[in-house]
Symmetry: C2
Subunit: 438 residues, 2 copies
Amino acid sequence: MRVLARDIAEIAGSDPGAGVELSGWVHRIRDMGGITFVVLRDRSGVVQLVCNEKPVDASGAALTLESVITVKGKAAPNAKAPGGAEVQAESIECLSRAAPDLPFQVNGDVSRMGIETILDNRLLSVRNPKIRAIFKVQAVVIEAFSSYLRSKDFTEIKTSKLVSGGTEGGTELFEVDYFDRKICLAQSPQFYKEAMVASGMERVFEIAPAYRAEKHDTPRHLNEYVSLDVEMGFIESEKDLIELERGLLAHIFEETARKNAADLALWNAAVPAPETLEEAPVIGYEDAVKLASDMSAKAGGGRIFEINPEAERFLCEWSAAAHGSDLVFVNEFPRRHRPFYTFPSDANRTMSFDALFRGLEITTGGRRLHRYDTFVEALPRFGLKLENMQNYANLLQSGCPPHGGFAIGCERLTARILGLANVKEASLFPRDRRRVEP
Amino acid sequence: MRVLARDIAEIAGSDPGAGVELSGWVHRIRDMGGITFVVLRDRSGVVQLVCNEKPVDASGAALTLESVITVKGKAAPNAKAPGGAEVQAESIECLSRAAPDLPFQVNGDVSRMGIETILDNRLLSVRNPKIRAIFKVQAVVIEAFSSYLRSKDFTEIKTSKLVSGGTEGGTELFEVDYFDRKICLAQSPQFYKEAMVASGMERVFEIAPAYRAEKHDTPRHLNEYVSLDVEMGFIESEKDLIELERGLLAHIFEETARKNAADLALWNAAVPAPETLEEAPVIGYEDAVKLASDMSAKAGGGRIFEINPEAERFLCEWSAAAHGSDLVFVNEFPRRHRPFYTFPSDANRTMSFDALFRGLEITTGGRRLHRYDTFVEALPRFGLKLENMQNYANLLQSGCPPHGGFAIGCERLTARILGLANVKEASLFPRDRRRVEP
C-alpha cells in the first residue's frame, strides 16, 4: 500500500521503523561514499531516502535523476532530515528510467533561469516544485471562482469557441478551416453569456479558453488564455458588478490562503487580506488619468493621457498607499474606449469598469445594452451595420433584461497573486506568435 | 427588493398580502375579459400574476410574450394557482419589449418540435423550461465531476487547444491560421494530461472543448464537444480506472438526483441508483462482441463483428437485465482498435476500456505506454515515425510513471441521463458541418 511523502513524518513519529512503500521521482541524489541519499518527490512533496547500496535501475546502471521509482523501507525519525523524518530504503524498483542528459535541471533554482528556458523545457520545468506551485494556485483560483458564483445562484455554461465573427469587431481573430468555409476562434463568450442571461438563467459563468490574434509579444499578453467570465441580469449599473467582484476576489484569496499556503511560501507571496478588498477604491476614468499623470510628473515622467500599463501601476501604487488595498476599480470609461455593446451613462461615458490588481488590469466589465432601440442607435457610432449584427439584434428583440458582466484573466490573476513577471509563466502551455510547442 | 418566483408560496403562506417585487419574462398571457393572468418566469421558476388592468408596455401597447417586466404587487395564497400562490399585480414596468412575432413559441410543448427548429432558434428555445433543464443538469454534472476528483487529490489543469498536430493521427483535425503557419485544434488533451501526470501532479483532470473534424452527422456526434478528462499515475491496469469511474459516476448521479429533481421530472428521467453502479459488469471485448452478436441473432438481426452503436445498445440491454445496471464496461480492446499509446496486455489486446451507459458509449479510456522502449517498439505497428513524435519521446525519456485515464463526453452523459435522442440537444450552441450559428 503506497503512502505519500507528506505522510512519512507522522508515520515515523507514531510508529518508528514501520514498513512503508512510496513511489515518485528521483529529485536529488547525494552519494556520500558508504551511503547514498535520494530525495524522492511525489505529488505531496519530497522525502529523503537513505540507501546503503548505490541505487540502480533495472539494467543495473546507476539511477538517474527524474527516473520514477518505487521504494520499500522503514520510516524513521531524523531531526536533521527535511521534514524531520526519512526512509531507510530496503529495495528500490525503477519503473521508468529518465535519460541521464535531460536538457533542464528540475531540482535547480528557477529564479536564476530565463523564461525562454523555462517554457522551451515545459515538460521538465513544470516538475520543479516552485513552478508546479503556480498551477496548484491556479487550480484553487478556478475552484474558488466557481464555488463562490454557485453560492450566488450562478449557473456554469459551456459555449462554442467556433464563431462566424467577432463581437468586438473583425480584427485580431484566428481563422479556422471549418469544412468548406472559414470561421473564427471566439475572442470571448460575450454574446453567448449575454444570450444565456436572457435565456432566463439570469446569472451565468463560464471558464474557457479565449483567443486573441494579437501580434505583439508582451509580459501581459497571451494569444490563448483562460477567461473567467461572469454575466448577470437585473443590475442597475457597473457598481453592482464591482460589488460582486469584490466578494468574488475576497473568496478566491481566502481559499488560496487556506489551500495554497506552501505554494505561496515558495514564491514568498501573500494574498491580500479579504477585508482590504472592501477598501478598494472606485475611481472615475478622468480622475484616474489625472491622478496617474500627476504621479508620473512627480516621479519625473511624462504626462499620461489614458489608462495604459504605466497608469495601471501608478493607480495601484496610489490605492495601496491611500487605501491599503492592492485592488482598485476604474469606472466611467469613455464610450470611444469601449465596445459598442457597452451601456452609456451619458453622452460620452459608460457604465463600465476595469479592475487593476497589483499594477495590472485583471478585469474588464460593464453593463451592456439591453434594448433594441439603443442598440440600433449605437451601431453607426462604432461603424457597425445592423445587417451584420443579426444575432445581437435577435437577442435584443426577444426580451432582454438589464444586465452586465465581466471577465477575469485567469493567468493574469494567478501571476499577480504570486508576483510572476510574465503572464506566460502562469500558462501551462502558453501560445504566442512563435510558440506552439510543446 | 426583488424576490423570486419560488419564494411567493412561502411569503403568501406566512404573510398573506405582503408587498413583493418580481422581475422576469412574460411566459404566458390569458385575457379573461375583466382580468388578465400573466405567468412570470424567472431563473427560479414561474408564478402567476393577476392583473385587473390589461398589462401594457412603456408605449402603451399590449404586453408581448417574452418581454421583461418588473411587477409590484401583493402575494396571495390561491389553491388553484400553480404552486398554491399568486401575485395581485399593482404595477407592471416593461424593461425590455419582445417583438410580437417571435419565430419560436417559448411556452410551447418542445416534445412536438423537431431538433432543427429547436437548434435554429436556440436563443429562444433555451428559454423553454424543459430545455433549460438540460443545461441545469449539465452544470451539476460538471460540478460533481470536479468535486469528486478534487476529493481524490486530483488537480484541475487547463491546457492549450492549439496544437501542431494530433495525437490520434493526422486525420479529422480542424486547421487554424496561426500567424504565418497552420496549426490544429486539439482533438483531446491526451498528450498534455499525460505530461501533467508525469510532471508530478500525478492526478489531473481537465474540462475543456475538444474538436473532431468528422464529416458525418449522427445523433451521437458533435464537431465540438466538452470533454471531461481524467488522467492518473501509478495505476496497474485499466481496472483501476474502471473503479475510479464507478465512484465518479455514482457521485455525479447522486448530485444530479439531489440538485436537479425538478429538471429530471420535466424529462420524466431518473438517474441510476448509486449502488447499481457497483453491479455494473466488466466484459472483455471478444465476449462482448459474441454476446451482442447472439442477441442480435435472437432478435432476428445480422451478426455483429465489433462494438458498434448497435452492439452498445445490446450490451446495455444485457447489463440492465442480467445485472440491474444501466452501465457496462467493455475492456481488453484489440490493439488495432486503439491508439498507439495504449498499453498492451498481450500481443493483441490492450489494457483499455469503454463505458457504455443506456445504450451509448460515454467513455473511452485505458492505461498508456509509459516506457520509452515499448513506445519505440509500438510506433511502426501504427505506421508512425519516431521523428514525428518528439514530444512523446521526450515525455517518455524523462521518467514517466505507469498511468492511464479516460474521458467522458459531457454532452453524451447529459443526453443519456435525460433520455435525449440527439447529443446536439445537450450542447448549448452545437457545431456540425452545417451549423455555426447562432
